[in-house]
Symmetry: C2
């Protein structure tokens, strides 16, 4: 498992339709539109939007306090146990726990930690996304 | 040239040494430390830190107004002309020009545009970074 990995960049947006229109005007091609969330495939990782309310709800921060947390970086792992190990390591290293590891309503396992500057990381296991041996989304 | 590309994620940080210590504690391996900026190699892209003052100076936003702009996404291009074309396209699509295309003091060519939700993108040409035919950092 490579440590140097971002597997998902999520932008908090006021309106996923408006955001989709803008990125499509730039030539981006949508992979999946779930309404509240939209995903684009990139090179071994994904890029997406999530409503500001949805992000606030997941990270436990009110919308008006999201600041840099209105954009989150995620690292995906192959199991819930790896998520817990990474969450524990990040907090022990000086990160701030925002959301303890929890079962998500979409069938995954997730957690949120802010780094020393307040940048929000999600450490997650998504059973519907396959990771290759290099930690990239296959 | 693939549109769906992020080639650099930059976190604005108060202290690059503190940030480096934290990410190294998580197992990350530094590729290059320039003091004011630190870079990590990932899969076809880079991850890095830049001082909040440096980011504020480049994007033209005061530190206290950086908000989500304290984390920037960048797409690198093979020439200054492509940077200008992308900058023009983004602004025509509803993006907000933060910094018109300019020659950087590190020998590159850059520009900054905020998307409709205020997320800051850098469109840049870095003559020292090689892009493959898929738009990834080689």
């Amino acid at each position: 498992m490579k440590a140097n990995r971002v597997t998902l960049i999520t932008l908090g947006v006021a309106d996923t339709k408006r955001a989709r229109t803008y990125y499509e005007a730039l030539g981006w091609e949508v992979e999946e539109d779930l309404g509240e969330a939209v995903f684009f495939a990139m090179n071994g990782m994904k890029f997406g939007f999530f409503t500001l309310e949805g992000l606030a709800n997941e990270t436990g921060k009110p919308v008006e306090e999201l600041r840099t947390g209105a954009m989150t970086l995620a690292q995906n792992f192959s199991s819930p146990e790896e998520v817990e190990a990474m969450f524990t390591r990040a907090v022990a290293s000086g990160g701030t726990a925002l959301a303890q590891p929890f079962k998500t309503d979409w069938g995954g396992y997730s957690s949120y930690v802010a780094d020393p500057d307040g940048h929000v990381w999600e450490y997650a296991h998504n059973p519907f996304w396959t990771l290759d041996e290099e930690g990239r989304i296959a």
